[in-house]
Symmetry: C2
Subunit: 508 residues, 2 copies
């Protein structure tokens, strides 16, 4: 019995209590845990899917290539396959895979909130462009507004487990596209200092909005030096063709050094094969086409390899965000991207549920855990989304924040060391008190190794009933109200705010 | 383009529709999928935990060993460690690991419902001994009754994804222990022909209840020839000691050829270390102690290696069934048991939630998926349980049944073959119609590869609102009412029923 805890125990009860009173410095379930423990595909599977993707790129090629991109691709060694399709030879793709950015920062305006994308770290964040918001008072959906976007932004600013914030809803009360893009960007700057993301409807919006970001960054040209916004963009439209507007935005974003999440959003059985393997082969090819494009324009430019396999319910043709197929497909996508060494973006937590109910929980819990265990570097759509991405919900944001902590805790796994195995501590407890309550070994683990939820109910049935038999959604609503009533961050100075308003049509 | 589907397409629209009308023969998400894709522990971790468990068994040993078992163990080569503790030498444990039953059937009275335990197949089933039932009318908990047990039994009889049924609740309105065990056994015989499981309070109850099983099996001695009941038992009480009553039941069950699930139910930080690695080492040692006991009494006797790591909330000392620690611990336990080649039993879906809410879904979804992906052969507690095993719920049974189908679908994974990769089919669709809707390749996958939920809502927000904005629990209640109003199986003949009633105090 040489366990060092034995000597510490001589400090007695008072010393243990003093020890226990020290504030906890460590987060037992911090964002950025390491993934990859779940591998739905074998190495041979990965290779077969990758080989098929390369054949698709070289032999079938990409259609509808805008002229500027066509010329750049041909100059880089792509081949004219006739009938408007361009082939990407295997050697070119593999060369670009070698040179592509593998790890890069997503800057927060607050540098303490910067995260590193790539490698084996896993982060949950948002995506989405919900047109409906789940109203906290009626429990029903209504069109999302600019006020909702401001409220969502400052709400998530207070949530530790949302690592970056993409505008989660569309301000449907702002009909002008330029005003929409500008006011969306403004909401992100005002409401949070985390890394943020937005979309640019057309390339012409990029220059003015970068000016807005420069004001937030402290002066002209400052934003591009340390960009704290990435863009979400789908330059490839399934199946296997480019989208002209988006490609123009890509050129503009590269000009301004704005990192991109190039998202392939194929739908199984509609714009991609219904077979899961075929789907992955095509969507891998499509995301590789984005990677080739970006790296031909600017070698090594930071791009998140966002291969999001989306499922539709083939009975109705409607997009379905829950389900076992979505669970395994996004996990497999993360595995494939990581296998290629690329920074992987996948989607999870896109439940089909409208209510904040058992279906909501099951679909979110399963898809999030699978994506995380498979090592998705950035797990999009994972906070606040409902109704198969048609809805966003305030209560969902705080519920999901706690779910992410559970997932991070699971992902962290089990540290096997002599100290943790604790042979001596086990013998001492069993031959001593006969239990482990209150031992030094237990105290040491209590805050270091366990996540204690604050929204999840762990009371006895009677206590729960006496407290009003609340649901998780009831408790979440209270939490949302508390945060929105108190968390009003001013992440733009009065001077910056005035400067922005002098130039842009900011809608209050 | 040599894809055979090309020629089939010449059959035209009518032929395709005819093909589509053929009844579906295949279940896209059948029970018994293959697990093991998620490995929370490295091989070195497994070995370190196993080595520590062996050291605990040999050096610390087991306490409170009943005399009969003590003598049997000493005869088999165990060592007297003094002070009442018995050591199990490494060589003995390893010899027993070699000879222990690795794969065996859990018989259903209906042979079509028999499942095979062990290897890499995963099945969800029940466990539990809830003392509360979630009342369908009040939405609150009340004491569980014998009528509840009958209703739960016939409800799950209609659910495809509950592979076996352990009595999920305790009939708290039957105070006499003998009557309770008898009437529990009777409910199982009357309500289902799946493999079932129960517990025997004391050894004296085994003989009479086997007589009841013999009547159901068709005559004296018939049950033991093909036992369709396994017993749930905890012969080891954490930390590291035997329980006298349970050990006596073990001897009796072996006498009657009743397979056993020997359950270690240590609690982290109370009856086992709070460190996850130390916990697994001790609980592995304890479950191995059960294995040694069973195999010393009867070499090769069928035993499910049920190492269920349970977590308590160290703030309150109460058992907590959800959470990231439970998720990873039960997955790791499954991995360890499988690594030893033993039939693994773990626990999942033991949510702390009282309501059928988002917490319920997240905790069930995460723990179930992790246990399945890690390859748990029998995943206990996974249907119908709520409130950290204090509650059982009818609605939960049907909700969980659908969750299991999602999990099985995810577990099934992605079949990567030339046909599924579908290079030619992709080229044909893209160069043809420009999409995949309605192609032969899509039709072939539509029912074969996709699970379509019947309870999960996939409608648009407006359709959902127009339909009454129902929650999953609302829909589940309707399903439960439908089943209980129509599914009244008579799994005992009138003659068998009368014969049982002539001998036993059957309470109606």
């Amino acid at each position: 019995m040489t366990n060092p805890t034995s000597s510490r125990r001589t400090g007695g009860r008072a010393a243990r209590h003093a020890k226990r009173a020290v504030p906890v410095a460590v987060n037992p379930a911090a964002p950025g845990q390491v993934g990859g423990q779940y591998r739905p595909l074998t190495d041979a599977d990965c290779k077969a899917i990758y080989d098929t993707a390369l054949r698709l790129l070289s032999d079938l090629g990409m259609g509808e290539v805008p002229m500027r991109l066509w010329n750049d691709l041909i100059s880089a060694g792509c081949t004219d396959l006739r009938k408007g399709r361009i082939g990407m030879p295997r050697a070119l793709v593999e060369d670009i895979l070698d040179k592509a950015a593998k790890v890069f920062p997503l800057h927060g305006r607050d540098p303490n909130r910067t995260i590193e994308v790539g490698g084996d770290k896993v982060y949950f964040g948002t995506g989405g462009a919900a047109v409906n918001t789940l109203d906290r008072e009626t429990g029903l959906y209504r069109p999302s507004t600019l006020q909702d976007l401001h409220d969502f932004t400052r709400l998530q600013d207070a949530l530790d487990n949302v690592a970056w914030f993409t505008r989660c809803c569309i301000a449907t009360d702002v009909p002008d596209m330029h005003d929409l893009d500008v006011n969306t960007a403004y909401a992100l700057m005002r409401g949070t200092t985390k890394p943020v993301a937005t979309a640019f409807t057309i390339a012409e919006h990029v220059d003015p909005i970068v000016h807005l970001f420069d004001i937030a960054a402290g002066g002209e040209g400052e934003f591009s030096k340390r960009p704290f916004v990435k863009t979400h963009i789908s330059p490839v439209i399934s199946p296997m063709r480019f989208g002209e507007d988006a490609v123009e935005v890509v050129y503009k974003c590269i000009e301004h050094n704005i990192p991109m999440s190039c998202i392939t959003a194929a739908q199984a059985g509609a714009t991609a094969p219904a077979t899961l393997a075929g789907f992955l082969a095509q969507s891998l090819a499509e995301t590789l086409a984005s990677l080739v494009m970006v790296n031909v324009i600017s070698p090594g430019f930071p791009m998140v390899f966002s291969n999001w396999p989306l499922v539709i319910d083939l009975r109705s043709g409607a997009f379905a965000g829950g389900g076992g197929e979505t669970t395994v497909l996004n996990a497999a996508s993360a595995q494939l991207s990581n296998w290629l060494g690329l920074p992987s973006g996948v989607a999870a937590s896109m439940t089909d549920a409208k209510a904040l109910d058992a279906q909501y929980g099951v679909e979110k819990g399963m898809t999030s855990l699978a994506a995380a265990l498979a090592g998705g570097n950035l797990i999009y759509e994972s906070s606040g989304m409902t109704a198969a991405l048609l809805g966003a919900s305030f209560e969902a944001f705080v519920l999901d924040d706690e779910m992410h902590a559970m997932t991070y805790r699971a992902l962290r796994g089990i540290e096997v060391s002599d100290e943790n195995l604790g042979f001596d501590a086990i013998c001492a407890s069993i031959l001593g008190d006969g239990h482990f309550l209150g031992s030094e070994h237990t105290y040491a683990a209590m805050e270091r190794d366990y996540h204690y939820p604050s929204l999840a109910d762990r009371e006895q049935p009677k206590t729960w009933a006496d407290g009003g038999a609340q649901s998780a959604a009831d408790r979440a609503k209270q939490r949302v109200d508390d945060i929105l009533n108190t968390h009003n961050p001013a992440h733009l100075s009065a001077k910056q705010d005035a400067e922005i308003r002098a130039v842009f049509n900011i809608i209050d």
